[in-house]
C-alpha cells in the first residue's frame, strides 16, 4: 500500500507576504546578536566576519518550499533560539519525565544523563580516552572540540570550514554559519590508519552543543577513520530547532566511515546538513539511525569528485505518532568509475510518517559509474504513512543504475507464527522490527547496536514520548 504525501502546508509562505517586514527584522537575527555570540565564544576576527557574512546570506534566503511543514518554527522568534542561553534556566527538574525514564531504561549512567539532557556540567571523558589520545597524538591525529580547533588550527579550519557545505546551501546552513557552537574536529594525517572508532559520544555534553554543533573531519590521503557521533538516548533541548552541520573531507585513497544515531526529543525540528567530498579511489561510508524529533529533514550527501571514488549509505528511520521524518541520501557522481550503494529502511507506527527523499545525480563527466538504491519501509499499522520520493538525474548513458523500493506491513500470519512459538504479540512485532533493522544495526559497533535494539523496543512499547 502506498500513501500519497499530504499537501504541503503553505501557510508560512502566505503569511510571510502579509507580514510587516520592519517588525520582522527587529525580532529577527541582528548583527548585534551575532557579535555577542562571537564575543562569548572568543572567536578570532576571521570567524566573527564569517558569522556576519553568513547572517547576511541567512537574511536573504527563503525558507524551503518543499518537504514537511515546518511552519511551527517561528522564524521571527529565531533570535530567541540562538541568543546565548541567558534566558534559559537549565535545570534537571525541567527535563520532561518521559526522557528521564528513557535514560533509566537505556541504562545511561547518572553523570551522562544530566549532560545528555543538556543540563549537566561537562562530563569528563578525558580520563577514559586519555591513553587512546596519547597514541593518536603521536601519529599526528587531532581530535578536539570545534572551538579549540578554530583557535589552535586556524589554517586547516579556514581551508575547510563551510567549504563543503557553503552557507549559501540553504537558509539553515546560513543560520548555522552565523550561530554555530560546539562540535568535533578530527584531522587524520596522510597515511595514518586509526584502528579504533573515534566516538563523540561523551562530547555531546556541553549544554549548547546539541543545537548548532559543527563537525569537521578531514581524512588525508591514504588515511582511514571510523567516527561515531551521537548516542541513542534522547537528547533534550529546551529550544526546538537543531541545525547542525557535518563536513567530511575524504582525500585520495582515504577511507571514512561516519556512523551516527540521532535521537532527539520529540519536540525537535531536526534540520541537519551533512556532506562529504570524496577524492580519487577514496571511500565514504555512512551509517545512520534517525530516531526521535518531531520533524526531521536529513539528507546526508556524498560528492564523488575523484575518479574511482565510492560511497555507501546504510540508514534507518523510525517514526512514531506525531513524527514526520523526511530523510534520505544524496549522491553526486562527478568523475568516471564512481559508485554508490544505498540501503535505506524506515519504520513507521501510530500514524508516524517516513519519507525517503533522495537524489542520484550522475554527471556527463562520470561514465562507467554505478548506482544501486534500495529502500524498504515497514508500516506497523494502517494509520502510518510511508513514501518514497526519488530524484534521479542521469546525464550519461554509460552507467549502471537501479532503484528498488518496497513498502510493506507486518502480516498477521507472521505474527501468528511467532506467537505459536510462545512470543507475545508485542514480542513478535519487536522481533520482526529488530530483524528488519538488522542490516543497519550490524553495521554499528556492538554497544551501539545493542542500544539501538533497546531503543527500538522502547519505541515499540511507546515508552518514549
Amino acid at each position: 500500500m502506498k500513501t500519497q504525501v499530504e499537501e504541503i502546508n503553505r501557510n508560512i509562505y502566505d503569511f510571510k507576504n502579509d507580514d510587516n517586514y520592519e517588525y520582522k527584522i527587529k525580532k529577527g537575527l541582528t548583527p548585534e546578536i551575532i557579535e555577542e555570540i562571537s564575543k562569548q565564544k572568543g572567536d578570532p576576527d576571521w570567524m566573527r566576519e564569517f558569522r556576519l557574512k553568513a547572517l547576511e546570506v541567512y537574511n536573504k534566503l527563503e525558507m524551503p518550499t518543499w518537504g514537511p511543514d515546518i511552519s511551527e518554527l517561528n522564524m521571527d522568534e529565531i533570535a530567541t533560539y540562538v541568543k546565548p542561553k541567558t534566558t534559559l534556566s537549565n535545570s534537571w527538574e525541567d527535563v520532561p519525565e518521559d526522557i528521564k525514564s528513557t535514560f533509566d531504561k537505556l541504562g545511561i549512567p547518572e553523570a551522562e544523563k544530566t549532560s545528555l539532557a543538556g543540563v549537566g556540567a561537562q562530563y569528563d571523558s578525558e580520563v577514559v580516552y586519555h591513553s587512546m589520545k596519547e597514541d593518536l597524538i603521536k601519529q599526528g591525529v587531532i581530535y578536539t572540540d570545534m572551538e579549540t580547533a578554530v583557535r589552535d588550527y586556524p589554517d586547516i579550519v579556514k581551508k575547510h570550514f563551510m567549504k563543503c557545505v557553503p552557507v549559501s546551501d540553504h537558509k539553515f546552513a546560513a543560520l548555522h554559519g552565523a550561530v554555530w557552537s560546539g562540535g568535533s574536529f578530527v584531522y587524520v594525517p596522510k597515511g595514518v590508519k586509526v584502528d579504533i572508532p573515534l566516538q563523540s559520544y561523551f562530547r555531546l555534553n556541553s549544554p549548547e552543543s546539541g543545537q548548532f554543533e559543527h563537525t569537521l573531519i578531514i581524512v588525508e590521503e591514504g588515511a582511514s577513520l571510523h567516527f561515531i557521533e551521537g548516542c541513542s538516548a534522547p537528547k533534550y533541548n529546551k529550544v526546538n530547532l537543531h541545525a547542525g552541520c557535518v563536513e567530511l573531507y575524504v582525500k585520495d585513497n582515504a577511507y571514512l566511515r561516519y556512523s551516527t544515531i540521532e535521537n532527539w526529543s520529540k519536540n525537535m525540528l531536526n534540520l541537519n546538513t551533512k556532506k562529504a567530498i570524496v577524492g580519487k579511489n577514496a571511500k565514504m561510508d555512512w551509517v545512520s539511525g534517525s530516531f526521535g524529533s518531531k520533524i526531521s529533514m536529513l539528507y546526508p550527501m556524498s560528492i564523488l569528485n575523484g575518479e574511482g571514488s565510492r560511497t555507501e549509505f546504510t540508514g534507518i528511520s523510525f517514526a512514531g505518532g506525531g513524527q514526520n521524518l523526511d530523510n534520505g541520501f544524496k549522491v553526486v557522481h562527478n568523475a568516471p568509475n564512481t559508485s554508490s550503494v544505498v540501503n535505506a529502511k524506515s519504520i513507521s507506527k501510530n500514524g508516524g510518517k517516513c519519507t525517503y527523499r533522495s537524489l542520484v545525480k550522475i554527471s556527463s563527466n562520470a561514465p562507467h559509474s554505478k548506482s544501486s538504491v534500495s529502500c524498504e519501509s515497514l508500516m506497523l499499522d494502517d494509520m502510518s504513512i510511508s513514501d518514497t520520493i526519488p530524484t534521479n538525474d542521469i546525464e550519461t548513458d554509460d552507467v549502471e543504475f537501479s532503484h528498488e523500493a518496497k513498502i510493506g506491513k507486518i502480516s498477521d500470519k507472521t505474527i501468528f507464527y511467532l506467537m505459536s512459538r510462545g512470543l507475545s504479540e508485542e514480542d513478535a512485532k519487536a522481533m520482526i522490527v529488530r530483524g528488519f533493522a538488522y542490516p543497519i544495526s550490524k553495521e554499528l559497533p556492538v554497544e551501539y547496536a545493542v542500544e539501538m535494539n533497546r531503543l527500538i523496543n522502547l519505541e515499540l512499547e511507546g515508552a518514549i514520548g
Partner: protein, 246 residues
C-alpha cells in the same frame, strides 16, 4: 488409565463467514500419536489453527481443554507456552533473525528463564545433525531462502528444542522427498515419549511407517466421520475418501 492431554468437545469454527468445522470431538491422551486424514478443504488445517486460537478463525461453539485447562479463548502465545506446538505447512520467513537467536528467545519465553548459550548451541547442533540439516543454517535468517524441505526440517528442529506437550504437525510431510520424510519421521520418534503426544495431519502414510499410531481420524466436511487404527490409514491410501463423502 492414560492421562488426558487434549479434549475437544463439539467444536464449531467459521472462517471468512464460512462454516468449516461442524462439531468436532477429539480426545488425545499423553503418550499417544493421533492422525487426522481427510480430503482437501475438510477442515484439517482449521482444526490445528483452532487449537492454537488463530484469530483468523472464529469459534462459534464448543470447547478445548488442554492439560486440564480451558484454552478455548486463550491467546495463541499463552497456549504455546502451556505446551502446544504446531508445525506449519508454510513456515513464515523472518529476515534478520537467525535460527539460533530465534530459538534461544522462544525457548526463554517458554521456560521463563535465560538460556545457557553454550549448552543450547550444542543441543541445537546435535538435533541438526540428527535431522541432516546444514549446520550453517543456524546462523541464517529464520526460513529466509530455505528450500521447502529445509523449512519443514526447521519446524521439526523447533519442535525438538521447544519440547512441547502436544505437537501438531500440519502436513509436514507434504512436498518432501522420501529421505526428508524419513528424517521428519525420525524427528518425531526422537521427540515422542510417554508424557507427550503428537497429532499428525497428513495425506499419505509414508510418514507413519516407522511410527506407532494409536488412532486415525477421518475428517470430512468439518466432522470426524470415522476413527480407527493405523489400518484405517492404509485403507484410505488404497481407496480414497469417496466412501466417507456424502
Amino acid at each position: 488409565m492414560k492421562q488426558n492431554l487434549l479434549n475437544i468437545t463439539n467444536l464449531h469454527v467459521t472462517a471468512g463467514g464460512k462454516d468449516i468445522l461442524n462439531g468436532i470431538d477429539l480426545k488425545i491422551n499423553k503418550g499417544e500419536i493421533h492422525v487426522i486424514m481427510g480430503p482437501n478443504g475438510s477442515g484439517k488445517t482449521t482444526t490445528a489453527n483452532a487449537i492454537l486460537n488463530n484469530p483468523m478463525y472464529e469459534k462459534t461453539e464448543g470447547s478445548i481443554i488442554f492439560d486440564g485447562e480451558d484454552i478455548t479463548s486463550s491467546k495463541t502465545d499463552e497456549i504455546a507456552r502451556k505446551g502446544v506446538f504446531m508445525s506449519f505447512q508454510l513456515p513464515e520467513e523472518i529476515p534478520g533473525i537467525t535460527v539460533t537467536n530465534f530459538l534461544k528467545y522462544a525457548k526463554s519465553k517458554q521456560t521463563n528463564e535465560p538460556v545457557k548459550i553454550f549448552s543450547f548451541k550444542n543441543e541445537l547442533k546435535k538435533y541438526m545433525e540428527e535431522l541432516n540439516m546444514n549446520p550453517n543454517n543456524m546462523e541464517r535468517s529464520l526460513n529466509v531462502g530455505f528450500s521447502g524441505g529445509e523449512k519443514k526440517k526447521n519446524e521439526i528442529l523447533q519442535m525438538l528444542v521447544l519440547n512441547p506437550k502436544l505437537a501438531i504437525l500440519d502436513e509436514t510431510d507434504s512436498g518432501l522427498d522420501v529421505d526428508a520424510i524419513n528424517t521428519v519421521s525420525k524427528g518425531i520418534q526422537m521427540f515422542k515419549n510417554e508424557n507427550n503426544a503428537v497429532l499428525i495431519i497428513t495425506h499419505n502414510t509414508k510418514i507413519l511407517k516407522n511410527l506407532t499410531v494409536d488412532y486415525v481420524h477421518i475428517l470430512v466436511d468439518g466432522k470426524i466421520v470415522k476413527t480407527g487404527s493405523q489400518e484405517l490409514a492404509k485403507e484410505i491410501e488404497e481407496n480414497g475418501y469417496s466412501k466417507y463423502k456424502n
